[in-house]
Amino acid sequence: MFQVRIHGRGGQGVVAAAEILSMAAFAEGRHAQAFPSFGSERMGAPVVSFCRIDDRPIRTHEPVMEPDALVIQDVTLIHQVELFAGLSADAYVLINTSRSFDELGLGEFARRFHRDRLLTCPATELALEHLGRPLPNAVLLGGFAALTGQITLDAIGTAVRERFPGAVGDRNMAAAAAAFRFVTLEEEEMVHASTD
Amino acid sequence: MTTQPIHFYQVGSFAVGNRLLDDDGRTVQSDPNRTNSLDSGHRACQGCGEALGARYAIDAAMRASQGRLVAVNATGCLEVFSTPYPETSWRIPWLHSLFGNAPAVATGVAAALKVKGKSDVRVVAQAGDGGTVDIGFGCLSGMFERNDDVLFICYDNEAYMNTGVQRSGATPPAARTATTEAIGSEAGNAFGQGKDLPRIAMAHDIPYVATATVADLHDLEDKVERAMQVHGARYLHILVPCPLGWGSASSDTIRVARLAKETGLFPVFEAVDGKVTGVSPIRHRTPVEEYLSIQGRYAHLFGEHPRTDIIARIQAMADRNITTYGLLAEEPADIDPKGVDV
């Protein structure tokens, strides 16, 4: 079972992101379970959502305590919320920012993880470019696909278009594809750097 | 051939004798083939105004709907005295659910009839004043604002009679009830309280609101008829004296109801789309003492030291109604208000 936790703020589509991820897994014939952190959410308040992906039916209904991957939609949360609770050294982390981990003051923290599993991605910029709105959720899923290999970009596309029919879906998908390319390039650069 | 002059106002009641009218003008109650929706044999007290009002109103509604009527009833005297298990006095489909939900239950009945395509069947809901102005008020207001196709009838006897005469939001000032006892200098129910539900109903902009008393059968039936001619939420507020709770003689029910109107304490009017369109004028303006003094619930005003101050305050309320509704405006000049032969 692969477990994902997504952090963001009310209005950024945190719940929808987990839902889309689960729909993408479903499109690939896998079992998936997405659910929000069940609060009385208000615009701007911290929000958490979860997604489990497995090849077998998922029976448990407990919250994700030890995620295999973390997606952080809003970088302003990093010093306010226990974002990294329960994270193992093997976990993947994707943060929506144009800054690096060192610039975020997370350089020391990042060294506890596999370097190639921790990435930042300017999803808000990509969203503004492709959607004209700062909605990073579907964009980051493209980056998530590239980072974790848990899901294909095609499946993300199927789910995004089902969730947002028409032009909105197409534009979200274009942004997700851009994030996928961005992350793939970053990974390649990292591999390149480590072999140098 | 000699002609005999017709004397309309023979009995001092201003009631027009049915036998003197054309068939069209006669009341539903004068029709031997009327439904008799609330049949005899029920357990109401002698002289019960509510039993009378309910039969008048529902029979009229039955005529207006060609017998295609469903009634919903709140808990209260009417419900208890009409359906002591395993008997029922109702000759129409009738449902009692709870004290506070008759308007909502009626909404449900109306919705079911609509979805079933039974557009010919009409819905009335009925409750006492407690079930209307107090515990049922939330549901009633909801039914009004949605403009659900229900005629809601309040039989107002100005207190919780079923439970032994306790104050409701419709109990008038100074009236003695079991929870507003005639004790102390401000004996009876307080002044400056209570709900004027007809006006609250009008504020919902529903298509039809009217008041009536059991003393004027023609007027009551006409209002039911008019209410049934329109769809949407309609409200009819009928004053029904309660001999038990008011301490009036069983034989005086009609007289007390008439005095409530003739003093101006109970304005009889109708309103269409939130605007008053007609009032029943006072025929014979009467001081409130005449109304109050024949009711035991006001006996504390007429003791050894009559409370003229309180009576004056009640008179002021009547006077204000008379001004507000123009209750003296249309007094017909050619009718002797004393009711004697012309």
Binding site: A18, E19, S22, M23, F26, A27, H31, A32, Q33, A34, F35, P36, S37, F38, S40, V48, P57, R59, T60, H61, E62, P63, M65, V81, E82, A85, G86 | L69, V70, E79, P84, Y85, P86, T88, I92, P93, W94, L95, H96, S97, L98, G100, N101, A104, V105, T107, G108, V109, A110, A111, A112, L113, V115, K116, V121, G138, C139, S141, G142, R146
Partner: protein, 417 residues
């Protein structure tokens, strides 16, 4: 059709396939998504004929349903928590009148302190109201139980409440196989009321009944619930034949055949319990699970039979009777009083407290060693409780406890669960 779909949406679409004719809506978390989705289907004409009524309270929602059902329409509404309590008088009334209303209860805690999260206090508060109460373990079952519920309700002329865990199921997006219209139509015949308000055949419904007949009327209601014990398994069998998957029934046993210890529970926590039980099986404990699908009527015989071989029974409950202990436990104890097993209660998940498989596993391991207390509050922070107890004994005006405890805990916004 297989869909990856939110639980509320799955229930809404399934309810729509049942062709409800009057649907009342009053918003209360966590059931709102269900009612919103049905509202859209009515507005778009996808669900017709149907009257969708936005009412002013839950009391009105149930009251409108009563009127609609009595006038011959198939009536549906949904509620939760405070909403259920606000309509409770009408809930009893619907059962007393024998009206086959179907209602979804998105289980949620009851305040004060106000809490929007899941537990079973609401369902337990109306367990004696005369409604049939069915609990869904998964969103698949939640959807399926509604089809079964309408048929059961109308066959017996009794209202049915389908209980599904608020948020945990209602807001979870999972795989659900939704039936199609033809399948539902074949399973669920049109509503033929036992009593109806009809001018051509006037009846009085809701008469006052005195001491001379009240007990008989109540006993009759009991017998009709017992009839449901026969009908629920039959309808579950018919459901499996019609839809090709099992759903519903009175109880659902899992690995109980040779079990020393049987865990009994209601609703979605059964999934987490099964994971924990598998882990304990791997560790060598002979543990099984008994899910109760029909809580009212309570399947005494089925429960007794399922527990007959168990040495120890652990009831896992998301509610409790303050001043006493488990609610479901009482029923299970009555059903198994002559089987010789030891009964323990674990109260957990109150107000949305996460129930983790890790904590459950520890508790089950303790039960296997006979080291589990007869009443355990899972993951209870005793220190926090003691701090408030001390405050209350040392200070007369110690203030509101809930707020004091929150202050002790620090900011809650930063907590992940």
């Amino acid at each position: 059709m297989l869909r990856q779909i939110e639980g509320s949406r799955a229930v809404a679409e399934t309810v729509a396939l049942c062709r409800p004719e009057v649907v009342c809506a009053y918003p209360i978390s966590p059931q709102t998504h269900i009612i919103e989705a049905i509202g859209v289907m009515v507005a778009s004409g996808a669900l017709a004929p149907c009257e969708f009524i936005n009412v002013e309270s839950e009391f009105a929602a149930m009251s409108v349903s009563i009127g609609a059902s009595a006038a011959g329409a198939r009536a549906y509404t949904a509620t939760a928590s405070q909403g259920l309590l606000f309509m409770i008088e009408a809930v009893y009334n619907a059962a007393g009148l024998g009206l086959p209303i179907v209602m979804t209860l998105a289980n949620r805690a009851i305040g004060a302190p106000i809490n929007i999260w899941n537990d079973h206090s609401d369902a337990m508060a109306v367990r004696d109201a005369g409604w049939i109460q069915l609990f869904a373990e998964t969103n698949q079952e939640a959807a399926d139980l509604h089809v079964l519920a309408f048929r059961l309700a109308e066959e017996l002329s009794l209202p049915v409440m389908v209980c599904m865990d608020g948020f945990i199921l209602t807001h979870a997006v999972e795989r659900v196989d939704l039936p199609d219209q033809a399948q539902v139509d074949a399973y669920l015949p049109p509503y033929e009321p036992r009593q109806v308000l009809e001018p051509d055949d006037p009846v009085s419904i809701g008469a006052m009944v005195g001491p001379e007949a009240f007990e008989e009327v109540r006993y009759l209601a009991h017998l009709r619930q017992l009839d449901a014990l026969e009908r629920i398994p039959a309808l579950a069998t018919a459901f499996e034949e019609a839809f090709g998957r099992p759903s519903g029934g009175l109880v659902s046993p899992y690995r109980t055949e040779d079990a020393d210890i049987v865990i009994v529970a209601l609703g979605s926590v059964l999934g987490t319990i099964k994971d924990a039980v598998d882990a304990r099986r791997d560790a060598g404990d002979r543990v099984g699970v008994l899910g109760i699908t029909a809580f009212r009527p309570f399947p005494n015989d089925a429960v007794r039979e399922a527990l007959s071989g168990a040495r120890s029974v652990v009831v896992v409950e998301k509610a409790f009777s303050i001043g006493f202990g488990g609610v479901l436990s009482t029923d299970v104890a009555m059903a198994s009083h002559d089987t010789g097993c030891t009964l323990r209660t674990i109260v957990c998940g109150l107000g949305g407290r996460p129930i983790t498989s890790r904590s459950l596993e520890q508790a089950f391991a303790a039960a296997a060693l006979d080291e589990l207390d007869s009443l355990t509050f899972l993951d209870l922070d005793h220190e926090i409780v003691e701090r408030e107890r001390t405050r209350m004994t040392t200070t007369r005006r110690s203030g509101p406890s809930a707020e004091n405890i929150l202050r002790d805990l620090g900011t809650v916004a930063s907590r992940i669960d």
